[in-house]
């Protein structure tokens, strides 16, 4: 389903994302399937091993392979701190480069429309 180009460095981030959103430990094969796309098994395995070395993932034996899990949690306190940071407004939020900001009601309708719009194959 996904054959887009993958910029350097984002693979590791994607693997962390896959591990973090999974409820159970994942083997390299499962991670590779969830990432989608033409990725070599060894590439995924290398990334997982590196994450384990960095202390960003834990692993346990699962049959012949290891199953990896994102580091248990960065403490509940961090999520609360983040919440405070984001709700403070003003300079507290101005220093963060947020992916998306707040929408107005009109924006919402516009975006929903854009997502529904069929995708033309050729650029205008």
């Amino acid at each position: 389903m996904d054959d887009g180009r993958r910029p350097r460095g984002t693979l590791e981030q994607e693997v962390v994302a896959v591990l973090a959103t999974s409820a159970r430990p994942l083997t390299p094969a499962e991670v590779r399937r969830r990432l989608g796309g033409p990725l070599a098994y060894t590439t995924v395995m290398t990334v997982l091993a590196r994450l384990y070395d960095k202390g960003m993932a834990t692993r346990q034996r699962s049959g012949r392979a290891f199953a990896y899990r994102a580091v248990p949690d960065l403490a509940e306190i961090t999520a609360r701190q983040m919440q405070r940071l984001l709700d403070a407004g003003g300079d507290r939020t101005a220093v963060l480069s947020r992916f998306v900001g707040v929408l107005s009601d009109d924006d919402e309708a516009v975006l929903a429309g854009l997502l529904r719009r069929p995708q033309p194959e050729t650029a205008r």
């Binding site: 994302a17 992916f99 900001g101 997502l115």
Partner: protein, 349 residues
């Protein structure tokens, strides 16, 4: 004096009004650099102009005049700016500098607070996943930068869309966008006319990160879809919760415009004209600041002219020779004044 100041003021006003509009026609990376450089230059020029006008009044304060060895009657007689205007400029200058310092302190405090929060969050340059349903994603500029994303946001996006999100935030960190926006915000604190320019810079860095993610993934549509889906999800989860004050105008705003720009073909051409226009405005205001400075220098030199009666006597004009000397030095100092311009007559504006 009034002439160059008026020209400078007009150029500054024109930059404040046209800057954001011209910036929209430039590629985002160029727009960011040019608008920030322009905003900082305009903020500095604002301070220079107000200081130049203000000093004509300040120099007439008895203590200051004594310190500079200027003759107050001569200052009063040749004063190129009405005292009320110069005094107003001095007050505004003090306000602008104080507010600029306050804004700087506030921004530094926010960075320190952010640094404290992030210290315990895993290695720098890594992504940090927070387990909460609240969908959020952002990059933090302190340290070597971290990308923070919640499981709520990750679940909302499909795997290729997550890649767009990471590429976008990585671009923010790689190009140090937080510092560009901080510079623009500080310039706007010194000169409020730069408010729209600072907002244009915030938008330009988001566009910059969007375009650089689109280039890295070689897929503009994917980035557009990721943006739209993330924004709608954030919006849906926010329903029923109060929107934090000031959140609308800070970061990541104007998502529809960003999505539309990504769905449109890559913008091309027409970069030279806006660049020249902005550079021209800056050159004009810098040149007029130079002229204004020369006038003020002359005004003060004149009052401190080495002819004794003017410096210490403070009385009426001395013997004719002194006056001739004075006129000579005047004519050499300011070339655009007609020869024989009477020294002691108050200039009409």
């Amino acid at each position: 004096m009034t002439g160059p100041c008026l020209v400078g003021l007009l150029a500054i006003l024109a930059f404040g009004a046209l800057g954001p509009r011209l910036g929209r026609r430039l590629r985002p990376a160029l727009a960011t650099r040019l608008l920030v450089a322009g905003a900082v230059a305009v903020a500095v020029l604002t301070v220079v102009f107000m200081a130049l006008v203000g000093v004509t009044a300040v120099a007439q304060l008895p203590a200051v005049a004594r310190y500079g060895q200027w003759s107050r009657p001569v200052l009063d007689q040749t004063d190129p700016v009405p005292v009320w205007l110069a005094a107003t400029c001095t007050a505004l200058l003090a306000l602008a500098l104080l507010y600029g310092l306050y804004a700087l302190a506030r921004r530094c405090r926010a960075l320190v607070a952010l640094h404290r929060t992030c210290r315990g969050m895993g290695p720098a340059r890594s992504i940090i996943v927070l387990r909460t349903d609240r969908p959020e994603a952002f990059a933090t500029p302190v340290g070597r930068g971290r990308i923070v994303v919640t499981t709520g946001m990750l679940r909302a996006l499909r795997p290729p869309e997550r890649r767009a999100l990471f590429a976008h935030e990585t671009a923010h960190l790689a190009h140090h966008h937080a510092w560009w926006t901080a510079a623009a915000d500080l310039a706007a604190a010194v000169n409020p006319l730069l408010g729209p320019t600072a907002r244009a810079v915030s938008h330009a860095v988001e566009r910059w990160a969007d375009e650089s993610a689109a280039a890295a993934l070689a897929d503009r549509r994917l980035v557009a879809r990721a943006l739209a889906r993330a924004a709608l999800h954030v919006d849906a989860s926010r329903r029923g919760r109060p929107v934090p004050a000031g959140a609308l105008d800070v970061v990541g705003g104007d998502v529809p415009a960003r999505v539309r720009a990504l769905l449109a073909p890559v913008p091309r051409g027409g970069q030279l004209l806006p660049v020249l226009a902005l550079a021209g405005l800056l050159a004009v205001s810098m040149a007029s600041a130079g002229t204004a400075r020369a006038r003020v220098d002359h005004f003060l030199d004149h009052a401190g002219a080495p002819s004794a009666p003017y410096r210490h006597g403070g009385g009426p004009a001395g013997p004719g020779t002194d006056r001739a000397d004075l006129r000579d030095s005047l004519q050499t100092a300011v070339s655009d004044r007609p020869p024989g311009w009477p020294v002691v007559r108050r200039r009409r504006r």
